[in-house]
């Protein structure tokens, strides 16, 4: 037998939020006349218990099979009403909502505009309701384990948190040892602790942890699956392992900027010119000496490879200012009678205790000169840093027997490759792109894949740790839940129409679409699909539909709007 | 045993995020907010840097999610008055202040506010004092919960004992929700972990008299600018001072930051970009206006920040290096007096709008809370983390974690990251107490 819609329509007053500008009674009367509508009512607060009860009794007594509520934004109460409809014994997707508060009452004060628009939106909602189909949401079990890529501080901290919470973790590191860049660092800023000690702390805890499996000299070859059920193939000295994981944390870090790309500073040509990482090793070795003797004149140059569009490095590397301040301090410590000059553009001492440390360093006699040096040239035994002191407005030449270039952070060379492997997006600066710059800083567009540390952008140690633990928190949620809910309103392909052109796959942010190797048509992975509909709009053949937003449903909605059923 | 639960103190973005993470992981969360609505400082912002997302548009959904999360119990307009016990087993006393409105009945229709005798006569602190509301109010339309509150300092009845013959508000209320008999209500909850996310206060620009804030109407703060620029603000997004569109706008950075003279040695971290963003908005909304920014160092360090700073300058906004020394009145205008340190000359810049980039301060309540929870505070008055590098989200008190600006100034992404980090730390603690319920069969990686 054919389906005959019996729709119940409920118009909410929302106190006066809606009723003040929308003639709710009129809208209800109008709705009652629409095709397929069995009953239309208005009520002060549909979201209230009596309001929801109204729906349930009508469904029972008038055996409604579709429900439309016209009230606030679905963001607010769609879950509420879906639950109510479900309790009434209907499929929750047999419910449609019209937003007559934010979209009508609140934006069209006065006159009857709001009421007419409300009627149109209700008509559209009803038209769609007649085409609604029941949908089932599925729950997928989750592998209670995580894969962490990168064994630097970020990776180790994330691994520790997840393991501490009771889950198995596999930590994959390219190098032979854990620790990453920090392992080569001497002291922290602004507290001048031994970094080696901090790193060792973490390494020991990681190594000792029963639930953490460390794979060094290892490389992730392939990651398949989806949130809750990833499978990674990892090459390591003993062979290739298949690692199951419910979540993946990417913590692959950064590379220091190659100072040779600024030839005017002669790095590599002048032994007197070194980089900040070089200096860490130098000072860690105990004696700060250049060509055998202790430097008397030390110059630091900031923003080498940062804030520099001429090199395609427009961004600030965030840590160099404080690294420089710290190293300047260390020079004063090791070489009390050395003169220390720092050339800067802006001193970015923004973290907790940073400004205070910067004050301290200046007060200790380090000369900060505002200017970005133009070049370094040789003059006899020494090199000469040529710059303009922009506060004197004079060109100056500062002789030096040690120059330290504060090199910035750049994305690792293998970032694009890994991005391809995990289907991650990258931001304009080349680092991995987070799902939302403000509110989802560790998530990615790929559900179940999270970012930690400098692979997402330059950070200092404390920010790295904080972000690593944040990523751990995000990763733990599905693991602790034990199952992930699969979106029911996903895309599906009409293979009769699909020409397999792949434009849909190109616009999908979730890698949910792939070409079927044999049938030559596209296929949707319903677990990866988030139902955003980008594919449907890209498909010229109309071969892709999104459940709950299918062509007939949306066309009916549009039809109702353009036909101005309000006549 | 009772289900493991966490207490989150503070309903700003940090508290909301921490609560959501912990609750999403399946733990019970009690979220306590002292003001009538969730949202905190972020809800007062217009746009966010450097992406220019509308702040409300990205925050409201999170507020809604927290508001209707089955595992989050909201205590708005409430305060934590006492905490005892230790990690894994804290008892927290929560005082629910009387709203004089029945939360269950109120549907937020607003008839009461319209009816109130003081309608449109009480300065709205949400609008930084620039807008007016009634004595019964919601701070802003997207408030969560959308429930009205009687302002005890303003309400005629509560302050004088009488309000005409009848209560206008009560008459107006369709669901008879207004109840002047309400008293403080104490609730005790047992939690395994506590996340402190009490946020910050803005520096009081009156403490720098040389800028004449409070004296010259042309001189406002960055927070006030946010409300002026906000479409939901008192001017509906028109940047105007008593109706006039400013044409000469000056921003002054580091007001109440990097300033030992007033005991604020630290950098507030967000002001540089806030100013860059506001300068852009001013350029956008005040066609032809001359916009000058006085700075000492431009600290555009975040992802995309330097790029945004580049863009803003190229819109024609003039950055002048120098920390102005005073603002004086000269006829129509005020005049900003400073040295332009790049010219090496003293300069005077006329302005009809001066925006002071006020820094971030510890909350006045921080001291009391520190006492209650035995938290240490740093020299600046923010809560002291237990380790500046590895444990910025831990307080040193087992089971008590820190999130957001109560530990030190932060921008939104850093706040959210730290909130999630605190959540992670809390979850580990809570998970321990329910590990057995989790039925995790210890999944070994295939032998290698």
């Amino acid at each position: 037998m054919t389906f005959t819609p019996r729709i119940g329509v409920y118009i909410c007053h929302c106190g006066i939020n809606i009723a003040a500008n929308v003639d709710v009674k009129a809208v209800a009367k109008f709705a009652a006349r629409l095709p397929g509508v069995a009953v239309a009512r208005d009520y002060t607060y549909m979201c209230s218990d009596p309001g929801q009860a109204l729906i349930k009794t009508d469904v029972a007594e008038l055996n409604l099979n579709r429900v439309v509520v016209a009230s606030c934004s679905p963001r607010m109460h769609e879950p509420t009403f879906r639950a109510a409809v479900a309790e009434a014994g209907l499929n929750p997707y047999c419910f449609e909502m019209a937003n007559i508060r934010e979209q009508c009452a609140w934006v069209h004060p006065g006159g009857e505009a709001a009421t007419l628009k409300a009627m149109n939106l209700v008509a559209a909602a009803v038209a769609k309701a007649t085409h609604l189909q029941p949908l089932e949401t599925r729950q997928v079990p989750v592998t209670p384990a995580a894969l962490v890529i990168g064994g630097g501080m970020a990776g180790m901290q994330a691994a520790l948190d997840i393991a501490e919470a009771g889950f198995q973790v596999t930590l994959v590191e390219r190098a032979a040892n854990l620790g990453g860049h920090a392992a080569h660092w001497h002291r922290t800023f602004p507290t001048l602790e031994s970094v080696a000690a901090l790193v060792k702390q973490l390494v020991d805890r990681v190594r000792a942890h029963s639930r953490i499996q460390v794979l060094t000299e290892a490389e992730v070859l392939e990651v398949s699956g989806y949130v809750g059920n990833f499978h990674a193939r990892v090459r390591h000295p003993a062979g290739v392992a298949d690692i199951p994981a419910g979540a993946v944390v990417v913590a692959t870090g950064f590379e220091p900027f190659d100072a040779r790309r600024k030839p005017e500073f002669g790095y590599g040509a002048y032994p007197e010119v070194i980089t900040t990482p070089d200096f860490e090793r130098l000072v860690a070795s105990g004696s700060v000496r250049v060509n055998g003797h202790a430097p008397k004149q030390v110059v630091f140059i900031q923003c080498v490879g940062s804030r520099d569009q001429s090199l395609g490095q427009p961004y600030c590397s965030r840590i160099c200012c404080m690294v420089t301040a710290k190293q300047a301090h260390l020079v004063r410590e090791h070489l009390p009678d050395a003169q220390v000059t720092v050339f800067y553009m802006d001193v970015r001492a923004f973290g907790k205790g940073f400004e205070e440390f910067y004050d301290r360093v200046r007060e200790a006699g380090v000369v900060y000169r505002r200017g970005n040096p133009a070049e370094i040239i040789r003059r006899g035994e020494r090199v000469v840093v040529r710059a303009e002191d922009t506060l004197l407005s004079e060109p100056v030449e500062v002789e030096a027997d040690l120059v330290v270039l504060a090199v910035g952070m750049v994305p690792r060379a293998d970032t694009p490759a890994l991005a391809g492997l995990l289907k991650l997006a990258r931001s304009a600066d080349g680092f991995f792109m987070e799902a939302h710059p403000k509110l989802r800083p560790v998530e990615t567009a790929m559900a179940g894949v999270f970012l930690a540390g400098c692979c997402q952008g330059p950070k200092d140690i404390s920010e790295t740790i904080a972000q690593a633990r944040a990523a751990a928190s995000a990763a733990m949620i599905p693991l602790m839940r034990g199952r992930v809910t699969v979106e029911a309103a996903t895309a599906f392909i009409d293979e009769e129409l699909c020409a397999g052109c792949g434009q849909c796959a190109a616009v999908c942010s979730f890698a949910a679409l792939a070409l079927h190797p044999v049938r030559g048509v596209m296929t949707v992975n319903p677990v990866l699909c988030q139902g955003c509909g980008a594919c449907a709009t890209a498909c010229p053949s109309g071969a892709i539909n999104v459940k709950h937003f299918s062509f007939p449903q949306v066309m009916a909605q549009i039809g109702a709007l353009v036909d101005e059923a309000v006549a | 045993m009772t289900r493991p639960a966490a207490l989150v103190i503070g309903g700003g973005i940090a508290g909301i995020q921490a609560a959501l993470d912990i609750a999403d992981a399946g733990f019970k969360v009690y979220l306590v907010e002292r003001s009538p609505s969730l949202g905190g400082r972020m809800s007062q912002l217009d746009k966010t840097f450097p992406t220019l997302d509308c702040s409300a548009c990205i925050l409201t959904p999170k507020m809604v999610d927290a508001g209707r999360h089955p595992d989050i119990e909201l205590f708005t307009y409430a305060e934590v008055t006492g905490v005892s016990g230790e990690a894994g087993r804290f008892q927290a006393q929560i005082k629910k202040k009387p709203r004089y409105v029945d939360v269950e009945k109120c549907r937020g229709c607003g008839l009461c506010a319209e009816a109130c005798r003081l309608s449109g006569r009480i300065a709205s602190d949400f609008n930084a004092g620039m807008g007016k509301r009634a004595a019964i109010y919601v701070p802003f339309p997207q408030a969560v919960p959308l429930v009205y509150t009687v302002d005890p300092e303003a309400c005629v009845y509560l302050t004088r004992g009488v309000c005409g013959k009848t209560f206008k508000c009560q008459e107006a209320c369709p669901s008879d929700a207004i109840d002047f008999t309400q008293k403080d209500e104490m609730v005790e909850v047992e939690v395994g972990a506590i996340v402190v996310a009490t946020g910050f206060d803005v520096f009081d620009a009156r403490r720098k008299p040389k800028f004449g804030y409070g004296v010259y109407p042309e001189v406002i703060t960055t927070l006030e600018f946010e409300r002026l620029a906000s479409a939901s603000g008192p001017t509906l997004g028109k940047i105007a001072l008593n109706g006039r569109r400013p044409q000469k706008v000056v921003f002054i950075q580091c007001v109440g930051s990097r300033d030992k003279s007033i005991g604020v040695p630290y950098c507030s971290r967000v002001c540089c970009m806030a100013v860059a963003k506001q300068a852009h908005l001013a350029h956008d909304r005040l066609p032809g206006a001359q916009i000058t920014v006085f700075y000492m160092d431009v600290r555009a360090f975040g992802k995309g920040s330097e790029e945004f700073y580049d863009r803003v300058r190229q819109e024609g906004i003039l950055y002048r290096r120098g920390n102005p020394s005073e603002i004086i009145r000269r006829g129509e205008h005020v005049v900003v007096r400073a040295e332009d340190t790049l010219l090496g000359e003293p300069v005077e810049v006329e302005a009809d709008l001066v925006v002071l980039a006020v820094g971030l301060q510890p909350r006045p309540g921080a001291e009391a809370l520190a006492g209650m929870l035995h938290l240490k505070r740093d020299d600046d008055g923010f809560f002291q983390e237990s380790h500046p590098k590895l444990r910025t989200m831990e307080s040193g008190v087992p089971g008590v974690f820190l999130a957001g600006c109560c530990q030190s100034p932060k921008d939104i992404p850093d706040t959210v990251a730290q909130a999630k980090a605190a959540a992670s730390a809390a979850m580990i603690l809570l998970a321990g107490s329910r590990r057995e319920h989790l039925e995790i069969e210890d999944l070994r990686v295939p032998a290698l």
């Binding site: 040789r378 407005s393 060109p395 | 300058r313 790049l342």
Partner: protein
């Protein structure tokens, strides 16, 4: 009073991108000896509100347009172009040095800034069998004014012709029809005259449908390559052509040249166009020749003060001459020959050698001459 509307000017030239880091002034060779400070000029323009007085800013004529400022700027601001534009404001008001005026007039009348008659433009080659360029000939050799007229420059052109003929390169010249490339005219801010010459020259090239062209001077090379409207025409500096010939084995040196040589990178070859290796490749291919580098080489090469119209202007501080500093640097390396590949560098450095009385210690030679000597 010489007012310009500074705000539109600043916006048009992207000066608001400047973050006042001073890299330009710090590297500016003229800042060493004159008041010229690109960073300060930019800032003055930015803070000027809307009117900026150029009066008394004679230092703007000191700029040699060596492009050190632009090549170093982290925010891709171009102070050099700004200065050229500001010179334009002087020119509009006819406020230019008599020498410059003369150069403009001569360029307008005779197609060269050297007040030389057009008829004599091919005099340098009369005893050489150089065919006039016509459609079908592979390369146009654009000689340029200085190599065509200046006795020292002519030696370079003649040497180059001998090398090219030895390598059997199919090329021709324009002779009397050759016209000034107007590079210097542009740097001196004479936009109108520049555009006129661009029109004439592109017209001529199109008519003869020139496919490939090379020049003696990096200045001509640069202006054709970067300032002329884009066309299919491929422009090279002769050192690129020679390097190509050497690589393909089409140019072989039978002679030997037992000399220690150091090479001075001309700004318009190096900083402007990133051509550092080809000239060195040619030098290295000369048997017996030992190439040693000065400290200031490649990107750091010190300008000789010959560019940006400075061939006609003493500048505000004639007492210090960069060319002389440069020669000192060359001497310090112990080289017997200071090689370069630009007529302007050649002249300024030659003069500098005389000034410091180093004639018997070191000789200034163009790469073309060295190559010819080794044939």
């Amino acid at each position: 009073m010489l007012q310009i509307e500074s705000r539109p000017f600043a916006l048009e030239h992207g000066l608001f991108a400047c973050i006042q880091c001073g890299k330009c002034t710090g590297g500016c060779p003229m800042a060493l000896k004159t008041k010229l400070s690109p960073r300060t000029v930019i800032y003055r323009l930015l803070v000027a509100g809307n009117g900026f007085d150029l009066e008394g800013r004679e230092e703007l004529w000191d700029c040699t347009t060596c492009s050190t400022c632009y090549s170093r700027c982290p925010k891709q601001v171009n102070p050099m172009e700004m200065i050229i534009a500001l010179r334009g404001a002087f020119v509009e008001k006819g406020r230019v040095h008599p020498n410059v005026k003369a150069a403009f007039e001569s360029t307008f009348r005779h197609g060269n800034p050297l007040t030389m008659p057009r008829e004599e433009r091919r005099a340098w080659a009369k005893d050489l069998s150089v065919k006039p360029f016509e459609t079908g000939v592979e390369y146009l050799y654009y000689v340029g004014c200085t190599p065509a007229y200046d006795p020292r420059g002519q030696q370079v052109a003649r040497a180059l012709v001998r090398v090219l003929q030895a390598a059997e390169v199919n090329f021709g010249i324009l002779g009397e029809h050759e016209n000034c490339c107007a590079s210097e005219v542009r740097r001196l801010g004479e936009v109108g005259l520049f555009e006129m010459l661009v029109e004439e020259n592109t017209g001529l090239f199109h008519e003869l449908n020139v496919g490939q062209m090379f020049t003696t001077s990096p200045h001509c090379f640069n202006v054709f390559k970067n300032d002329y409207p884009k066309s299919g025409m491929q422009v090279q500096h002769y050192t690129q052509v020679l390097a190509g010939l050497v690589e393909r084995g089409a140019l072989k040196f039978t002679g030997k040249l037992e000399k220690t040589v150091t090479y001075h990178d001309p700004c318009y070859l190096g900083k402007h166009n990133g051509i550092f290796d080809e000239p060195r490749a040619v030098l290295k291919s000369i048997p017996g020749l030992k190439l040693i580098e000065m400290d200031r080489s490649r990107e750091k090469s010190l300008c000789c003060e010959g560019g940006g119209g400075r061939m006609w202007l003493e500048g505000t501080n004639p007492n210090v001459r960069l060319a002389q500093l440069r020669v000192q640097e060359a001497l310090a390396t112990g080289a017997e020959i200071l090689a370069t590949a630009c007529p302007f560098c050649l002249l300024t450095l030659d003069e500098a050698v005389k000034h410091v009385q180093a004639e018997e210690k070191i000789r200034v030679m163009d790469i073309a001459e060295l190559a010819a000597a080794a044939l």
